[in-house]
Symmetry: C2
């Protein structure tokens, strides 16, 4: 047995140096288990891209070794890439009941069967090759979230999943502190832990705090109440329902993803729904305003969301009216700040009161802050520590927290996606790198949009395009039609006739020069047109549109 064979390899295919597309791989000899298969929403510069998923080449190259996919919870950044993975390989998937409820719907949308899905409960133990996989309860901003302890021949690998240490969770399902303590006491070889809030001092407030705020606000509001949050935040929705009942209001859930999540959660028993409290959106106007609460999507200011459509009076059943109170029970995901602000403005313009300020206590995070992370680290005191789920600064801050608690820097690995962290009983190190990266999904295409296409989209988005077409006689080289000039996204053509006419002259000049110099290679002629025209356009407009010369031969 080689040295490598006696060691465990831990690789992240996503989630390091980024928030999203979480995927960790644990390999020991011929057994690979995958923890989570998440997607990421594209950053602004990925023009036109719908979603980003991890590059799973490594898993495909080792297909026969992949024995299980373990899911920590049902958020998109943990399960959203699963359909793409299951299209490529046949592998059993394990997760909690709610997680599986959510995943089933996703697989259906992709015409995939559910036969690989297996439900597990906290404290369940699963045998996967040489591993014993143990699931444990954690709290997060979605119910039924799990941490995962993998008992390997070399020791325990603990993955927290996304976690907060909520002492008073809405469903009473407290983090399994005793299991964590037991694992810590027996010794954990490696801990992988959620770093999302590693730069936030103190403790993350309990989800109950939001319930108290709702109570205050419902007590004061005389009109309709409209609450927007993440569709998956079932506990938040539960708190809305409880508060509504106390204040004699009916609840209407509006928006496809919200309705789906509430339905699944209710069917599976994760939402406690008093008889008759729910009303259809068509019924809203049958009740006086002070007897209605609307729960809906749009907390990120998405232009097509229900809330935005309500705010622009573009929704079929509900529009915002004077007297309404809108509660934005979420914080903007980085990059969405402007969209959310715009929605808040629209709502104010419609005459609503809007509760959106951080200081109002209408939202809490689902991720542990520094003091909670320290508790976890002290409870476990792993031999090796790998901060995961975070941008680079979060991983660094988390590493520094661990160091401040006495874990030696040499045993902490702030890694990149694809780096192989090789762990033995007494030694761990980075041992190379495998393929990892972003696969861009655009429409139906998975991975067919690359740097060239994106670079073109970028240039087109900034200054548009100028297309120059000439038809040339094959034999004589004479221009028989054109040059015709078309532009899109460059200037408003009707007001730029002179510029276009001048451009046509430039093209003719360039063609004449080529003719005189007896240049006949198209590539050279095109380059000449591009250069001369580019210079002209920049001088006249200060812009650099893409210039596309097309030569037709007859």
């Amino acid at each position: 047995m080689s040295d490598t064979d006696s060691r465990i390899q831990i690789i992240s295919l996503g989630g390091l140096g980024e928030i999203g597309k979480n995927m960790s791989v644990i390999r020991y000899q011929d057994t690979i288990v995958v923890i989570d298969a998440g997607l990421m929403f594209p950053e602004e510069e990925l023009l036109g891209i719908d979603i980003v998923i991890p590059d799973i080449s490594y898993l495909l190259e080792n297909k026969e070794k992949v024995k299980a996919v373990l899911l920590t919870h049902g958020h998109e950044d943990h399960v959203g890439a699963l359909p793409y993975l299951l299209k490529e390989m046949d592998v059993p998937v394990y997760g909690s009941r709610l997680t599986m409820g959510i995943v089933e719907g996703k697989l259906e949308e992709h015409d995939l069967s559910n036969e690989n899905l297996h439900v597990v409960k906290p404290r369940d133990v699963l045998k996967v090759g040489p591993f014993e996989v143990e699931f444990l309860r954690v709290s997060h901003s979605i119910p039924d979230a799990l941490g995962i302890a993998i008992h390997t021949p070399l020791g325990v690998i603990l993955h927290t999943g996304d976690i907060k240490l909520d002492q008073t969770p809405v469903d009473g399902e407290v983090v399994d502190f005793r299991k964590l303590a037991e694992l810590g006491e027996k010794g954990v070889l490696v801990m992988l832990s959620d770093s999302t809030n590693a730069d936030k001092p103190g403790f993350t407030m309990s989800e109950r705090v939001v319930g108290n705020t709702f109570d205050d606000l419902f007590g004061k509001c005389e009109g309709r109440i409209i609450i927007t949050t993440f569709a998956s935040n079932v506990h938040r929705i539960q708190q809305v329902i409880c508060t509504a009942r106390r204040y004699g209001r009916k609840v209407s859930v509006v928006g496809r993803s919200m309705v789906n999540n509430v339905r699944i959660s209710h069917e599976l028993g994760y939402i406690d729904m008093p008889e008759g409290i729910l009303i259809e959106m068509e019924e809203i106007n049958n009740y006086p305003p002070h007897e209605v609460v609307i729960v809906t999507t749009g907390s990120q200011g998405e232009p097509m969301s229900v809330l935005t459509r309500m705010a622009t009076a573009d929704h079929r059943w509900v529009s915002i009216e004077r007297g309404d109170t809108v509660i934005i029970s979420a914080t903007p995901i980085p990059g969405n700040e402007k969209l959310v602000a715009k929605t808040v403005d629209l709502l104010f313009r419609q005459g609503a009161e809007v509760i959106y300020e951080k200081s109002m206590g209408v939202h809490v995070s689902g991720h542990a802050s520094q003091e909670e992370l320290k508790i976890l680290l002290n409870l476990i005191r792993p031999r090796y520590f790998i901060p995961v789920h975070g941008e680079y600064r979060h991983l660094m801050k988390h590493a520094k927290l661990a160091e401040s608690l006495g874990i030696p820097r040499s045993r902490i690995f702030v890694a990149d996606n694809g780096q192989i962290i090789e762990v033995g009983k007494k030694k761990a190190n980075i041992a190379g790198k495998i393929t990892a990266g972003k696969i861009l999904v655009d429409g139906l295409g998975v991975g067919d949009v690359g740097n060239i296409v994106l670079r073109d989209r970028r240039q087109l988005s900034q200054d548009g395009i100028m297309i120059v077409v000439v038809t040339i006689n094959k034999e004589s080289g004479e221009v028989v039609a054109g040059p015709d000039i078309l532009t899109r996204g460059f200037v408003y053509v009707r007001e730029s006739e002179e510029l276009i006419d001048d451009s046509r002259d430039r093209v003719k000049e360039a063609l004449d020069i080529c003719a005189k110099k007896k240049i006949s290679e198209w590539a050279v002629i095109k380059a000449q047109v591009r250069e001369s025209l580019g210079k002209h356009l920049y001088d006249k407009t200060g812009r650099r549109p893409m210039i596309l010369p097309i030569i037709m031969e007859v």
Copy 2:
């Protein structure tokens, strides 16, 4: 004299419902004064646009009435549109010494003369037609900021400019509370007041607080210190210099705009610079790390800024090294959050310690929070109140603050750009609307990019373009060359040969159908090609590129 002639008209051409391009117009009979002429940086959806300036059609239509432009301070969102205004009209401009120092540079860049610029001091009084214009000291995040009281035949109009009530400003120039009290005591007809932070509870902390934090950090740092802030934040730079001196460090100012601002401020006496403390960037490496502070631009994560280039080892003289401490002494402007976060990550990756968290006290705002705004309102107790400088929600919050202090809602005007607020001694109301809006500047073009061009850029940015060219015999209608297909920003062509071949077949089919139906109008043929091809591409790729059929006749 008509009723309108005996009233004052107050119109904002920018700054209402937006942060930026501030411009207020005060008109009484045949006299117009303009307060500020600011620009705005474009929102994300304004693809390719460089800056946005106010539409000044109203001023151009009333050119002979415009008697003065009054500047409150030297920030871009208050003076950045001045060159564009001065290109269109000849009018005296008044502002403080530092403001004028900054404006001079701007006018030079636009090849405009400085002969219209006039320096004023706090408490100066200027006669403009029937007005007496009085300037008064306010504090803000740039020195030498002014509020403006216009004494009119109907009463005083007070414009606070951008303001905070800093009790311990770095230059000792406290807000002129006594003048404000005097104005309030005598009676103010209308107050226009800064709403930027109207949704922030409490007080904005004094600029000195940042100095104290610098002191703590300098005491702890053993390596180089690199501080980034807004180039115009002269007090912040002053505090860096003072702290550096106390800790025996030299200061190097790096970055064109920062160097310019420090030079102007120093020449005009707004920066107190101990002999020999400044070093050139070429000299940095002659000093040990613990004797150096670098002050630079890039606090917004701008990709071309000095800090970003340092972080990517792309700067000629300085690159970030292990042991460096970088202090981001600014908060991201809404929309820049991701860019700043990316820069912080890059810096961490280079091995620097980065101080960027809000909780660290390395930045304070330049705008008054709610308690300060209340003090202002109580000091002045204007008859009419117009919240300015803010998105709609900020204006609403500011209006509600005023109402909570007893100013009747009917005397508070939350207006839109272009709305005419007509004020008499005993009555005020909205009296119509004049042209106001965004003028987009793209390269050298001012106002030549409109909705059609932006819509095209948007479509191009999402799914790219497919260009179809055919050459047709004019007489026979027969295709003599093509169809040729080119795409940009749509798919990677080398891997999509089949799709392109199929597309060519679709075009041929569409042309055949047209030929059979004896359709000869180009518009109809092009529409046919566009429709058939569009459907095909969407089915195959889920994308909707712009389709541009071009028919050449020979």
